[in-house]
Amino acid sequence: MTTTAEKKIAGRKAPKPDAFDVAAIRNDFPLLQTQSHGKPLAYLDNAATSQKPQAVIAAIARYYTNYNANIHRGVYKLSADATAAYEGAREKIARFINAPSAREIVFVRGATEAVNLVAATWGMDNIHSGDEIIVSEMEHHSNIVPWQLLARRTGAILRVVGITDAGELSMEHYQSLLSERTRLVALTHVSNAMGTINPVDRIVALAHARGIPVLIDGAQSIPHLPIDVQKIGCDFFVFSGHKLCAPTGIGALWARYDLLDKMPPYQGGGDMISSVTFSGSTWNEVPHKFEAGTPHIAGAIGLGVAIDYLSGLGMDAIARYEHELLTDATEKLEKISGLRIIGTAPEKAAVISFVMENIHPHDIGTIVDGEGVAIRTGHHCCQPLMDRYNIPATARASLAFYNTREDVDRLVAAIEKVKEVFN
């Protein structure tokens, strides 16, 4: 099997605009056919990771079965095929997020590594003592801690944009924090804990008006919304593959070429160099300068195929369908007495965090699990957000395009069971 064949592996054909065939889509996901505790699985932890379609699983198997070889320097056919598939995935990502060029796509392990990469390279070059980095109260730890590490090294200061009771970014507070000391704005596109969709276009415009670069954490937005980095206008965009139907351990950093070109390397090693002597080494060109060592080749190929699959369904269609599911789930959960939804912004992705009177989220999670319903409970790597609402944890249902109204109904029934146990 060659990489030409790999390129042809798209998902299913694009559905008609008004027909989102969830039953057929579910058949593409082997794991959705399984049972949990003897009951059909209702998988509602998509903000943590997504399930993988057979097309992705098969593509990974095909790489290892038919053309496993190291990339970039092999003169033999296998290596050329592997290189073409790996670089082909880079091109698919560029098209998927409307990046001007595939060389602006850097493969990383995931969004976390991408943020760390920017902090360790661009950050160390551009952020100095007394400079300020703006983050928000709704950030995932992965968009807080790398900046804290950078601040510790450089003497920079973190400024934190507050959020409203509904879970929206306070744009007023954000604007008041922008100053001549601000060197970077690093904000999430969509909150993993609440689903809030932040107005990234406006966030970027306000920062750029002062010449401040912006990093957008797209880990939670890219699986659910069409992404256009040129329209957003940001300078850095990071995401993980595994939330996007691709394997774990692969993700991407997109950054403007002029920024990548000036940034120093992240890790040293093979593939990232142009020449090595003991008197000094020179770096490979962008993006290879940032990809030291043998990368996750199978992962990158899998990510490319996942993007084909999602593009086949259409990100607009996915966003529309998930919004309908969110509306349905919100209406049903709101009717449950003693249940309170955390995060009620008007613009939301399909994430519903909730707490219940006198019942700890951990107990909710265990009991609904017994009904075959998988949800997340805990702080969702957002401890500052939990502190903001003065709660230790929430239960969180996060939906994907392969979920159904039946999944939602099963969650509602499972929550009723929780109440039975505790009443």
Binding site: H37, G38, K39, N358, I359, H360, P361, H362, D363, T366, I367, G370, T377, G378, H379, M386, P392, A393, V421, F422
Partner: protein
């Protein structure tokens, strides 16, 4: 599915709803903080030890049904016990939670604490039940740094 009734027994639910000895203690001789990052459970344990005997014990904090009930029942079980007895009890309790389901708990020693034997069927919840006990160990050692189950 393991039976939820084994986990959420009436005694446990009763202690969750009305935790005993849940208050601060101004004349404690030792305190310790415990934290389970997985679920966000936090507990502060207060001990008043005199001549090797636990004269008083209490806790504060916020946790799930299992950790709250475990803390509540632990405080009830330990009042008046010697530190040596406490240690023996902790070992039995820990053994019960980590041994196979078919092994009966040592009811003679554990007494009421045997209601936690159902937690064994839910491995991810074992840490909830042991958090108060690990925090107790820290308090006994007069350690002031928080203990974590992770």
């Amino acid at each position: 599915m393991s039976d939820l009734r084994d986990l959420y027994q009436q005694t446990i639910l009763d202690h969750t709803r009305k935790p005993r000895n849940k208050h601060e203690m101004s004349d404690a001789t030792a305190t310790a903080d415990g934290h389970n990052p997985l679920c966000g459970d936090k507990i502060k344990l207060f001990l008043k030890v005199s001549n090797g005997i636990i004269e008083d014990i209490s806790f504060t904090g916020n946790g799930c049904a299992i950790s709250t009930a475990s803390a509540s029942m632990m405080t009830e079980a330990l009042k008046g016990k010697s530190l040596a007895e406490v240690q023996a009890l902790f070992e039995r309790f820990h053994t019960m939670l980590t041994s196979p389901m078919d092994r009966d708990p040592d009811i003679e020693v554990l007494d009421k604490l045997a209601v936690f034997s159902g937690v064994r069927e839910f491995p991810v919840r074992v840490k909830c039940a042991t958090l108060p006990w690990h925090t107790l160990q820290a308090a006994i050692k007069h350690e002031h740094r928080p203990v974590s189950t992770e």
